[in-house]
């Protein structure tokens, strides 16, 4: 089957070109096709952007074990509705993804849905207990693309060191949720002005930074690739800049909420703004935006963390950390383009090209002949209210529910198949 994407602005990591994309089966056959090329299906993109399907290196799909929050199918639906065609789910499922059986279960379930590709991140230690290494070789063979104890950061520098060393042997890498739990204590929001005002216990930025520093040094020690999760503070970014300038094998990611919202959101005690790391101060947001502008930050990820409404409808201290993000990544990231922080090629680098390289998936991340036809047709001008009818996740824990958003995927194409179409009315 052939599909022609007619009249689009094709965005790649280095340039934007106008043209028509011809897809043959699962593969991009041409990016210079004629507008009236014969095809089984023709989509007129009306001058909108065609971008490589977004690759989200950081999601929580709660499957297996906590399917009442999200499962792989609902998560995949939310992903494609946000232009995302590949995701990397974290290992904090029930049971923990610390063995090949769970890894393969996840991959197979996603394959049977056929909406997205799922590249699991395996646990770094057994049961995410921070003690014994998982069978990284076997899991890598089973399809795990990296290793992390996200949410339960490894306390022991020794364990982290050995995990990084061992993962690198199999061409894999470790992903660090950098947080010194002893410093975070019972904190629930950023330690700053708003924690002083609201009496909500604070988590200082240094809680992240001290661990980022350690993990950078572990990369230095081992030479292994260490990827720092969801960076949230100015200080973290400075450490990463230093690490990169020293030539250490360190990369990092940022979430849209961390570069968009500040601690001020917490003045209302809104549990849908409770996440870890917490929303920080304006200067941190400014620094993260600068990091996106100048390329110090490698990619944008969602940290999509669905929680049931009953779990968020609690006292602030008791509500779990995390917000959903798959359907808001696109509008919030495109807002950076609108503001002139980044251009469209940079957007593609941050959301697809760089992530693909990080997880060594050379078949994607670009709209080029021979690559997988994972494409999102994006309209940055489309305005809509993000409501329950649009929301595809099982959960609704996002501060953007009911809010007006700008920018969306009109079509999401996965391996040549249209898997999502924006409901126009």
């Amino acid at each position: 089957m052939k599909t022609l994407l007619k009249n689009c602005k094709i965005v790649n990591h280095d340039k934007v070109t106008e043209g028509n994309v011809l897809i043959d089966g699962e593969i991009i056959a041409s990016v210079t096709a004629h507008a009236d090329e014969k095809a089984d299906k023709v989509i007129d993109c009306k001058g909108k952007y065609a971008v490589p399907g977004l690759i989200d290196l950081h999601v929580h799909f709660r499957d297996p074990g906590l399917e009442y929050k999200e499962d792989i199918t609902s998560g995949a639906k939310a992903a494609v509705a946000g232009g995302v065609t590949a995701v990397c789910p974290m290992a904090n499922t029930k049971p923990v993804n610390d063995n090949r059986i769970v890894t393969e279960y996840m991959i197979r379930k996603a394959q049977s849905d056929g909406l997205i590709d799922l590249f699991p991140i395996g646990a770094m230690t057994k049961g995410m207990e921070g003690e014994e290494l998982t069978e990284m070789g076997d899991m890598t063979e089973g399809g795990a693309i990296g290793f992390s104890d996200d949410g339960k950061p490894v306390c022991s520098a020794e364990v982290f060191r050995r995990a990084a060393e061992y993962a690198s042997q199999f061409g894999s890498f470790v992903i660090s949720h950098a947080e010194d739990k002893s410093l975070a204590g019972a904190g629930v929001i950023h330690e700053g002005e708003v924690s002083a005002i609201t009496g909500l216990k604070g988590i200082p930025s240094e809680c992240e930074e001290v661990m980022v520093a350690r993990d950078i040094l572990m990369s230095k020690l081992t030479g292994a690739h260490v990827h720092i999760c969801h960076i949230s503070s100015k200080g973290t970014l400075e450490l990463i800049k230093w690490a990169k300038s020293m030539g250490y094998n360190v990369t990092c990611e940022v979430t849209p909420h961390h570069f968009t919202l500040t601690e001020q959101e917490l003045l209302t005690y809104d549990t849908n703004c409770k996440m870890n790391p917490p929303l920080r101060a304006q200067e941190d947001v400014d620094a993260l935006i600068e990091g996106l502008r100048n390329g110090d930050i490698d990619c944008i990820v969602t940290d999509h963390a669905p929680h049931h409404p009953d779990e968020k409808a609690q006292e602030f201290d008791l509500a779990p950390f995390g917000i959903t993000g798959l359907q808001t990544m696109l509008p919030l990231s495109l807002a950076l383009v609108e503001k002139g922080v980044i251009d469209m090629p940079a957007f593609v680098r941050l959301t697809s090209y760089n992530p693909a390289k990080l997880i060594k998936k050379t078949d994607r991340g670009e709209i080029a002949v021979g690559k997988l036809a994972d494409i999102a047709i994006v309209d940055p001008e489309l305005e809509y209210v993000f409501d329950l009818t649009l929301n595809k996740s099982k959960s609704v824990n996002t501060p953007y529910m009911g809010k007006k958003l700008k920018g969306a995927a009109l079509y999401t194409i996965k391996s040549g198949k249209v898997v999502f179409e924006f409901p126009m009315n």
């Binding site: 700053g192 002005e193 002083a196 009496g199 909500l200 609690q314 602030f316 201290d317």
Partner: protein, 316 residues
């Protein structure tokens, strides 16, 4: 002057006028507490539930007395903050109480923001009797009432608040309210107990006990919550008493007629020495007395206010 809100959640969001109205009303209620028959029929038929998710004896008793003196039916409901672990959510608990046709909830909770959260989910009127580290509005009102009775005014009064500022809802409520009414507030405590971003309070943060006390009209000593902090924030109560406690010698640096206050219960010999707590400058028991009047005022204002119907101007 009026107070048109459904709830009394904190001092931070109130206007100066609202705070003054509460204070004026409370002042009027002090008279009732001096009578032989300490009861008025004002809230007859209203049900006030003291919903305490955190142990408290004095605040709950004060509210209970206040409710009874206004002829309301007051019921105490003590629940564990961890009742959610038993399966019932906070809101379910509140909705159940509301379904019994309760008019006012006086709520104490160990988590900041929890009382506001309840207020947003019920039509009943809510009085915050202390939420986590956030606010304790009736304490701020009784503090200000006591200061005003003692000093005749609030504007320009020098108030030192000393102790664990970070973990004190009393300090927060006092700061928000007093700064609105023109009180000059200064803060002092161990560095481990002063928020890093204390500039949001708009108060002077002192470097030493002497600086904090010097020239003060009022000294509010906060209770050290030993059971809450463990030993991490201060090495010992002995050391705390030495550097942060109010002794007679330290008090001598304040104005001669300085008023010493404490939200209670006092750790004698720790933050407040006995000869100061029991001395001529102590307003501690006056605070307790005023507490009842303040809580009567709060219950009265919320209890009668339903903003319906017109006044019969000639209701003689």
């Amino acid at each position: 002057m009026a107070y048109k809100r459904k709830d009394l959640l904190g001092m931070k969001d109130l206007t100066k006028e609202e705070i003054l109205y509460l204070l004026e009303t409370a002042q009027k209620f002090t008279e009732i507490n001096e009578r032989d028959v300490k009861k008025v029929p004002t809230l007859k038929g209203k049900t006030v539930i003291n919903l305490f998710f955190e142990p408290s004896t004095r605040t709950r008793t004060s509210f209970e007395i206040a409710g009874k003196r206004l002829s309301a039916d007051t019921i105490n409901f003590t629940a564990s903050s961890s009742s959610t672990t038993k399966g019932e959510t906070l809101i379910d608990t509140v909705k159940n109480m509301e379904a019994m046709k309760s008019d006012i909830f006086v709520v104490r909770h160990s988590y900041s923001g929890a009382v506001k959260y309840i207020a947003e989910h019920t039509d009943a009127k809510i009085i915050n009797a202390g939420d986590g580290l956030n606010e304790h509005p009736t304490q701020a009102l009784l503090d200000m009432l006591t200061i005003r009775q003692s000093k005749g005014r609030l504007e320009g009064i020098e108030v030192a608040i000393i102790g664990d500022i970070t973990h004190s809802r009393v300090a927060r409520s006092d700061v928000w309210a007093m700064t609105k009414l023109g009180v000059n507030v200064r803060l002092f405590g161990p560095t481990t107990m002063i928020p890093k971003h204390s500039q949001v309070f708009g108060c002077r943060v002192c470097k030493s006990m002497n600086e904090a006390v010097e020239g003060a009209d009022v000294i509010i000593m906060l209770r050290i919550q030993r059971e809450r902090q463990g030993k991490l924030l201060i090495p010992s109560t002995k050391e705390y008493a030495k550097y942060f406690g109010l002794t007679k010698d330290k008090l001598a640096l304040a104005k001669p007629d300085a008023l010493v206050m404490h939200p209670g219960p006092i750790n004698r010999g720790v933050e407040l020495m006995s000869n100061v707590a029991d001395g001529d400058n102590s307003g501690v028991l006056k605070q307790v007395t005023n507490g009842v009047a303040v809580r009567m005022a709060a219950l009265y204002i919320l209890g009668i206010g339903n903003n319906k119907g017109g006044i019969d101007e000639n209701a003689s």
